[in-house]
Symmetry: C2
Subunit: 584 residues, 2 copies
Amino acid sequence: MELSKITSPADIRGLGVTELKELCDNLREVFLEKVSAHGGHVGPNLGLVEATVALHYVFDTPNDKIVFDVSHQTYIHKMLTGRIEAFLDPSKYDEVTGYTNPKESEYDLFTIGHTSTAVSLAGGMAKARDLQGQAYNVVALVGDGSLSGGEAFEGLDEGATLKSNFIVVVNDNNMSIAENHGGLYSNLATLRETKGTASNNYFKAIGYDYLYVDNGNDIETLINAFKMVKDINHPVVVHIHTDKGHGYKPAEEHKEAFHFSAPFDLATGKLKNDDEGESYDEIFATEMLAEMNEDPKVCVLTAGTPGVLGFGPERRQEAGRQFIDVGIAEQEAAAMASGIAKAGGRPCFGVVSSFVQRAYDQLSQDISINGTPVVLNIFYGTILGMNDVTHLGWFDIALISNIPGWVFLAPATVEEYLSMQRWAMGQTQYPVAIRIPGGKVVHSDGEVNIDWSDLNKFKIEHKGSKVAIIGAGGFLSIAKETAALLKNEGIEATVINPLYLSGLDTAMLDDLKKDHQLVVTIEDGVLAGGFGEKVSGYYGTSDMKVANYGLEKKFADRYNYRQILEANRLTAPQIAEDIMKIIS
Amino acid sequence: MELSKITSPADIRGLGVTELKELCDNLREVFLEKVSAHGGHVGPNLGLVEATVALHYVFDTPNDKIVFDVSHQTYIHKMLTGRIEAFLDPSKYDEVTGYTNPKESEYDLFTIGHTSTAVSLAGGMAKARDLQGQAYNVVALVGDGSLSGGEAFEGLDEGATLKSNFIVVVNDNNMSIAENHGGLYSNLATLRETKGTASNNYFKAIGYDYLYVDNGNDIETLINAFKMVKDINHPVVVHIHTDKGHGYKPAEEHKEAFHFSAPFDLATGKLKNDDEGESYDEIFATEMLAEMNEDPKVCVLTAGTPGVLGFGPERRQEAGRQFIDVGIAEQEAAAMASGIAKAGGRPCFGVVSSFVQRAYDQLSQDISINGTPVVLNIFYGTILGMNDVTHLGWFDIALISNIPGWVFLAPATVEEYLSMQRWAMGQTQYPVAIRIPGGKVVHSDGEVNIDWSDLNKFKIEHKGSKVAIIGAGGFLSIAKETAALLKNEGIEATVINPLYLSGLDTAMLDDLKKDHQLVVTIEDGVLAGGFGEKVSGYYGTSDMKVANYGLEKKFADRYNYRQILEANRLTAPQIAEDIMKIIS
């Protein structure tokens, strides 16, 4: 059928098997056309073309509910549910997000982006359905990689106790973003090898009925399987074995690289723009490989995102057992790091800002209360990073700086970062978190030679008077720019690089009272609970005026960097303008 | 042997079986003597007397490492590791904490109090041991109830991949604090029924070798089992079936009541002081039972602590399927609540302040980004509540008030609480969190009639001038007391009840500028990231002076209420004194 005619899943429900196969081929082709030009999640979607078609073919969506885990595998789902134009027409490519989004369609139930949540959310829907005496199918679709997350286990464990319809489709492509890690995955392998007949079965063990589908890329098999469980009256797992990247050779062969890809050449699979320039993943990986080579006690932990840390397959191999991927399991990475530090190892857990919030309790209880010298490196903790609402790097300042015991550092340059990281790994006194700066990679003019154990000593980058501007981390650059603009107005402002987010340099702040009337703070995150408010609180009963710059406390989705900075008056000209008003 | 002679586990390693049995009897007797007089965790320790003795008998502690989950079951462990006097001598009862504590003994590896962490921490120690080429046994002891927590699953999943010694002892007494919930527990039941021979086995499924011990209260059997796994070269689960409350009839018969008990009469098991007076658990349970009776869509969720919410066995039965205990699994409770709300149910998740931080990501992603109208009730969010370092109720203000989208309410009285709760449950516009006040239960003078959907409208309790004191939640009482003291000094202060913690009443704050020179904030928690700093931030560029009162950002353990308030200048006389200085 002509793809542009698909307005809802009802349009495909009358098709025969041959037509459905043809439909899958066409969907895959259009999908590849778009992602090769636009970038996006490639492998997860290619593997799920047939299953997505089969789900909408068998289930009476949107009356029946499908909750997609992570939801980065929903491009085909979007094509079938009234949004085909956003795939056919390049000018409309950006009209849909890369995740499910209830604002786009009633077929999308939740805005999702973090892993391991779908079973819990779907379980809640099934519960509400039962409380209200309604009848519809509730389906959670979850990838094997997501099963390593504690929330997925909690959801499965509770979901198993439902005495009603509850269908969990496990999309098993034997991959997380990279390879899977964890004992569970041996069981999934055994189940695949035995075509689901192995006597030990994780899903059965926690209370599920179970159905195995070996060829998860065959539309007919899938339709039959889903028909078997439709309207079932108890919890069941349908374990489908799919092929990540299915139908596109480069993605089948390079599954990790094609999990998510920037625009690429469709014929060869090569990235269109492979010149990344200097980046912190490379800086981190180079530094940590050297440290690991030097000291067998040093190890790097990731919770399923080795690529973010610059640890591709080759570097992982080089690091050997000193590189620990715990799977998508941030709680485990944090708590395990505490155990490692306790027993004399030197662990560094590298984690994306948006995901570190999954381990808040572990940062507090397992690490800080125990004073274990874990080192945390926060990636993408910046307004200038990921801009999907589910992946914002705005909240880690408030998260970490308000937990007692953590030393939280904010380098502005590569040299500051490396100096901090070496100190953090070498000491055993504190848990230390380092917020890798966003924006362009910046270098210091000279060598950085600071004793970081002398906590909370801010650095004066330029001494002036009347106005002091404190720019934290990557936003030190905005402070400098602002000072340059003020100079044109005859104001020689003091510029301060705080370096620490977890404590104030009260001696310096007191000293500023002598010849300053205004202190301005600029931070790369949300104001609420952040750095600037602490400075305001400190000066509360003095005559010093304080103006805090950062983001307002509200979510944003797929924002434009420039626009969000401007909307929050976070650009140098705006800040300079405000300052002139305040001091006039 | 004479208990007072036990200075370390070495003292018991030469004993024969008969002597060991006698030892267990004596330990149990002394234990009961102490907890009946002092209060403490009764059932968990009684069930583990034999296993604790057997562990220290077989393993070469402290060279071998034992990590206790939650660690509320370590009273016997403490008696065997140099701390027997704290059990024999009533004047020394308070010299040990109720949890493991490295400051007390080298046999205690971590300060632990939250559940589900031991396997992860122990796994980290095993990893560090291997990296350093050392050889010792690493044992994690975890209760069946703790297995429902996601962190326990993540720890087990990763731990299974260790290629070295790793021993997980599962203490299965078929109970959490209350009964267990989750599909996993059917498997544990089957394993108990089949003496560990059932073909489906949760632990084997995720990659563990497995040993079942049916009589987990028989010292000889336990010793043999632990000897079998000592020095093992791969991960193994030793599943021991114990009897919670073993050896004390009232605790065997009333397992939930005796999980933790206030002082009780040893002969009868009756509480020595059963008169609790008015309390929020009763107020909550009464209110929610009425709401559930009226509307089948309403439901209450707990993550394994129904007693905190006033839902004992009888009320749980009355609520039926509208009361949902997901087991110790805060992530699941929060995410499931979001699913329930999405599908038309009206969920209220009641959770202890210290435990809500385990669900930060779910509060943000699964709930707030999705705008699902989940209602959260925070219990023990107060300085005047639990004072173990692992259970502090100080951090929820910074945690929740800095997540966009949440309406976070702080009632000062029962009437305000009930009015807020009814509004929250009746509306479907916002996720709403309510912080149940600490300290004495206080009532309003009259009826509370406020439209809570008119967000962030603070309430002026008393209109004065010059000084305004904002007292949030339960600490409104301190604000009122302070105002009374100021009156003696000729200052008629304004007293404000903010009611909202998630936003400022900027109109009111602006209005205060007319005839006030100082705004004082008082909050029942840590200042960092909290309420007061936001007020300071708001007034930063104005002439208004602001003084924030709350706790300094640092942990405290088993503190005295009066002392900690005084140390932070949080008493009315101290605040009044400070105010006089500031405005003079």
